[in-house]
């Protein structure tokens, strides 16, 4: 049950700014990747910004977030340190993992971003575990588990869902359905017509399927789910349909290699989450063109600052190699 509230102007501006920040950073990474200084795999979130922005805007500072290989947007929208992220991609000691993780391992405990790792599905039970801890300690925290529709094929997803529902844990499952697991379409992985959120509903929790490119709708649903979880109402599952624009891993477009059509891509480009909200901001006079320009300038500056910081940061020294295998 969701009570529709009018989003505040602040919220709409925030959603836009967060999406813009993700977009700008990701596009910048794509542009710089060819320099071969970011020497790690990158799974870009371009096109999928709506989910991260909407969900992040629904969270309280104390909440936890876990993610997978495609985590940039989740980290950025959650307010993860941008310098530390870029430095991590550049393999520098100032990176969030001191260079040990690379793009696929983002972390920022200061904003409750507990971690992202690239083994598909593995952070789903881990997220449920942080929710269990919150419950055991009587805290009011909520955990977000971000994952792709591919991850719902892993057994561990099933195990984690069952337990979250069994114990009514404060966790919200955010499934970004972008139709592909690498280059494998849904048709070779899941029965046709069987919706991801419907299978999830079988576990006995509230589910919703919606447009992941509508950040406002995502925020509304995510907020309802988070509030419910915080109030002890247990987990919710949101399937958010979206589309990755660039190749599965790397900086390029790959609509030509044969696993999907340029037409499909163009169709999704038309559903770009950013212009959509931009129009609304302008139409409803929540922001002026000048405001938007200012945001663009701000975000570009943040991005350049982070890149510059990363590029001038030192690499970890040899002493770091053996450090920290054990706590």
């Amino acid at each position: 049950m969701v009570i529709h509230r009018m989003p505040t102007p602040e919220l709409l501006r925030r959603l836009y700014l967060d999406m813009l920040r993700v977009r700008v950073v990701e596009e910048r990474i794509a542009a710089l990747y060819g320099e071969q200084e970011m020497r790690c795999p990158v799974h870009l979130s371009v096109g999928q910004e709506g989910v991260a922005a909407g969900v992040s805007a629904a969270l309280a500072p104390e909440d936890y977030v876990l993610s997978g290989h495609r985590a940039h947007a989740h980290y950025i929208a959650r307010g993860g340190n941008l310098r530390a992220m870029l430095a991590e991609l550049y393999g520098r000691v100032t990176g969030c993992c001191e260079g040990k993780g690379g793009s696929m391992h983002l972390v920022d405990p200061s904003v409750g971003f507990i971690g992202a790792v690239p083994i598909v599905g593995s952070t789903i039970p881990i997220a449920v575990g942080t929710a269990l801890a919150s419950r055991m300690r009587g805290e009011k925290r909520v955990t977000i588990a971000y994952f792709g529709e591919g991850a719902t094929e892993e057994g561990v997803y099933h195990e984690a869902m069952n337990y979250a529902v069994l114990r009514k844990l404060p966790v919200v499952f955010i499934c970004e359905n972008n139709f592909f697991s690498v280059y494998s379409p849904l048709s070779v992985r899941q029965p046709e017509g069987r919706e991801v959120y419907r299978l999830a509903a079988g576990y006995g929790l509230e589910t919703w399927k919606g447009d992941g490119n509508d950040a406002v709708a995502v925020q509304e649903r995510a907020a309802a789910a988070v509030d419910k979880a915080r109030a002890g109402g247990g987990p919710t599952f949101l399937e958010l349909v979206t589309y990755r624009w660039r190749e599965h891993c790397g900086p390029n477009y790959d609509n030509d290699i044969g696993y999907r059509t340029p037409a499909e891509f163009e169709e999704w480009k038309r559903r770009d989450p950013l212009p959509r909200l931009e129009r609304r901001l302008l139409d409803e006079a929540i922001a002026t063109r000048a405001d938007l320009d200012a945001m663009a300038t701000q975000v570009a500056a943040e991005c350049e600052d982070a890149v510059a910081f990363a590029k001038k940061s030192p690499f970890p020294g040899e002493e770091k190699l053996r450090e920290g295998v054990y706590a």
Binding site: Y64, L66, G95, C96, C97, E98, K100, G101, H105, V107, D108, P109, I114, G115, V117, I119, S122, I124, P125, I126, A127, V128, G129, T130, A131, L132, A133, S134, M136, R137, G155, V156, H158, E159, A160, N162, Y163, L166, G324, V325, Y326, A327
Partner: protein, 350 residues
């Protein structure tokens, strides 16, 4: 004050004192609060600490291990239990990719203080899928600590240390040790992770052993003593990190090494000890080091074949004799109980 306790009672005491002093410690595992209480090792704890801290779970090893990992990352100290190592094969991803690496790969921004109790089955026809002894796997993984307590004293002391440690600790219990007795202090105490123990000092030959092989090694040492051979028995206890000083110190002293392992020989943990000795004590070795380990087959169920899989005291005596070129040996008596049970009180089925 020290009393004589069973190994499982020592574990239970360690869990009890740890839970009493630290509210973040909790237990989880299929059957942990059930009437059998993991072979007795968790009995009574659910009553004392309640179902929120002594938890049963769905039959879902990988997911539940991940859930324990998640809770640990934000400050809890789970003690997870899988009733057989074999079941934990389902949980390798969470143990090896996640628990073991989180601290390092996030440069210290996450830590995973948890204990994973894994029970090694043996005897009474446990068969190929209920008696694997996979310590070699865990000991290969940076980020894991691995212990195999062989006595009630160590069972308690290593469990307390494992729970207090800020890393994932694999705690391997041999089913045949569960009902062995030994002195256990009442108070809380710690046996440090990473330290071997010279259980029986000697000067002629080194037995470096893990887990239940300690029982065999001590019996073998007694027999050897009767033949005038003074064997030193080193209980490795901690497989990772390993106490090279103690183990190799003994090898340097005696010049002869026999490793006793409960796992398969080929590619097993015994090979690591032999390799360390060969690399680091090359000039002091007077005979080829030998491995006595589990037969390289899926352990069969029938007692007729299972008994052939496990190295025993007699094998250790013979190996020592071969190393030292001694022929007139005193062999241990044939055991009075069948070879597929730890003692005559054991009547199956698990």
């Amino acid at each position: 004050m020290s009393r004589t306790l069973k190994y499982v009672e020592a574990i239970r005491e360690a869990l009890d004192v740890s839970m009493a002093k630290d509210p973040t410690v909790y237990l989880m595992g299929l059957g942990v609060p059930d009437p059998k209480g993991i072979f007795g090792s968790t009995l009574g704890l659910a009553d004392k600490y309640g179902p929120e801290r002594v938890m049963d779970m769905p039959t879902a090893e990988n997911g539940m291990t991940g859930i324990a990992v998640g809770s640990a990352l934000v400050g809890m100290r789970p003690v997870m239990c899988h009733q057989r190592v074999d079941f934990a094969l389902l949980a390798m991803e969470q143990i090896v990719n996640q628990a073991a690496k989180w601290h390092y790969m996030f440069a210290g921004k996450g830590r995973c203080p948890m204990v994973i109790r894994l029970i090694i089955g043996r005897g009474w026809g446990q068969g190929p899928q209920h008696s694997q002894s996979l310590q070699a796997w865990f000991a290969h993984v940076p980020g894991l600590k691995v212990v195999m307590p062989a006595t009630p004293y160590d069972a308690k002391g290593l469990m307390v240390s494992a729970i207090e440690d800020d890393n994932p600790v694999i705690y391997l219990e041999h089913r045949w040790l569960h009902n062995t007795f030994g002195p256990v202090p009442e108070d809380i105490y710690r046996v440090p992770l990473g330290k071997a123990r010279v259980v029986r000092p000697g000067k002629d030959i080194t037995f470096a052993v893990v887990s239940h092989m300690l029982v065999e090694a001590l019996q073998a040492a007694d027999c050897l003593a009767q033949a005038g051979i003074d064997a030193e028995v080193v209980d490795i206890r901690s497989l990772r990190p390993i106490d090279e000083d103690t183990i190799l110190g003994s090898v340097r002293k005696t010049g002869h090494l026999i490793v006793g392992d409960t796992g398969w020989k080929t590619g097993g943990f015994a090979g690591e000890i032999v390799a360390l000795a060969a690399e680091q004590c090359f000039d002091r070795l007077k005979s080829p080091p030998q491995r006595l380990a589990l037969a390289d087959v899926p352990t069969p169920s029938t007692p007729a074949l299972a008994k052939l899989c496990y190295p025993r005291a007699i094998d250790m005596v013979l190996a020592a004799g071969a190393a030292l070129g001694k022929k007139d040996l005193v062999l241990p008596p044939e055991p009075s109980t069948p070879l597929d049970v730890p003692d005559s009180r054991f009547t199956g089925p698990f």
